[in-house]
Amino acid sequence: MVGPYSDAVIGAGGARLRPYALTGGRTRSDYPLQLDTLLAAHPVPADIDLGPEGERIRLLCATPQPVAELAFHLGQPVQVAKILASDLLHVQALVIAEHHDASHRPDRELLEAVLVGLHNL
């Protein structure tokens, strides 16, 4: 299955690497970011130039966003968003806004809170 966005972003066949121009050709992020990792903007000194993409990501993360949504709003493949976000994490223009290690299954307290939350919708 190929969605409408993938055609625009990836192109057919040979144009696949184009999004990685934004990352300077890098295909891996330095941080172990997952699709569901929540990112929040963090104040930086005014003299740090984050570039247009960096500024855009920080604006998007004014309220914490998962990597998945960030990729969508940037119109980029997830991996590209991860690399751009990791650059901002490096300079602490972004922070990971989570309580728990993402590799752990949720505990009883969280599951019960979720059940209440779903019930109240």
């Binding site: 966005y5 993938s6 295909t27 997830v78 806004a97 989570e98 309580h99 299954r105």
Partner: protein
């Protein structure tokens, strides 16, 4: 440069919960996510780029094959500090490493089935069983299913007696919310007696 007033010195600490939505092509995954989500992103991901990480370090970038896959994403803000995320699995290829990424740390999974193509659910059921991820079967249908149909589905999929089989209408918000509650209840039921045993468990 514009000024940001979004964050205080201490970063926000949110809690998140992730539920994976699996099922064969055309079973209604996109519809289900759309019925409850506050956002409607469709994501693209290069499958092999991830699959190669840490596995074939000797293989050059130029020889990697990348496959672009699309997957649904949904979000429900349950509380200002609790975010529920839904991830529709891409395609039917459970050997894709994206499935591992989606399942890691997930609370549970929904396997959406169409009774006309039950065999499409086999791969997802086998995968979640192997991962020991709590999952349930949601039979997507337009009309209320007779009870025997759900039992037939259980039989056909050779499910363990502990796996819930529920009926749902993927177009209907209330119905989908019930399914999500069922998943969370099932995950609670499946928790080990002592919370300490969870921490060391490989997910």
């Amino acid at each position: 440069m514009s000024a940001y007033t979004t964050c205080e010195a201490a970063p926000p600490r949110l809690r998140k919960i992730k539920i994976v939505i699996a099922g064969g092509f055309g079973t209604g995954k996109t519809t289900l996510v759309g019925a409850v989500s506050e956002v409607r992103p469709l994501l693209t991901e290069a499958a092999m780029t991830q699959a190669s990480e840490g596995v074939d370090a000797l293989v050059g970038v130029e020889s990697k094959k990348t496959t672009t896959v699309a997957m649904d994403f949904g979000r429900i803000t349950l509380h200002p500090e609790i975010i529920l995320m839904l991830f529709g699995t891409p395609g039917q290829d459970r050997f894709n490493n994206i499935w591992d990424d989606l399942s890691r740390g997930a609370a549970g999974a929904v396997v959406l089935v169409d009774t006309r193509r039950l065999e499409d659910a086999f791969d997802a059921v086998a995968y979640f069983e192997a991962q020991q991820l709590p999952f349930l079967i949601a039979v997507n249908q337009f009309d209320r299913a007779p009870r025997y149909l759900l039992d037939e589905v259980r039989e056909a999929l050779r499910l363990d007696a502990s796996v819930p089989v529920v009926a749902c209408d993927a177009r209907d918000r209330r119905s989908v919310l019930e399914v999500l509650k069922d998943v969370v209840r099932h995950a609670l039921y499946r928790l080990p007696a002592s919370p300490h045993t969870v921490l060391g468990a490989r997910t």
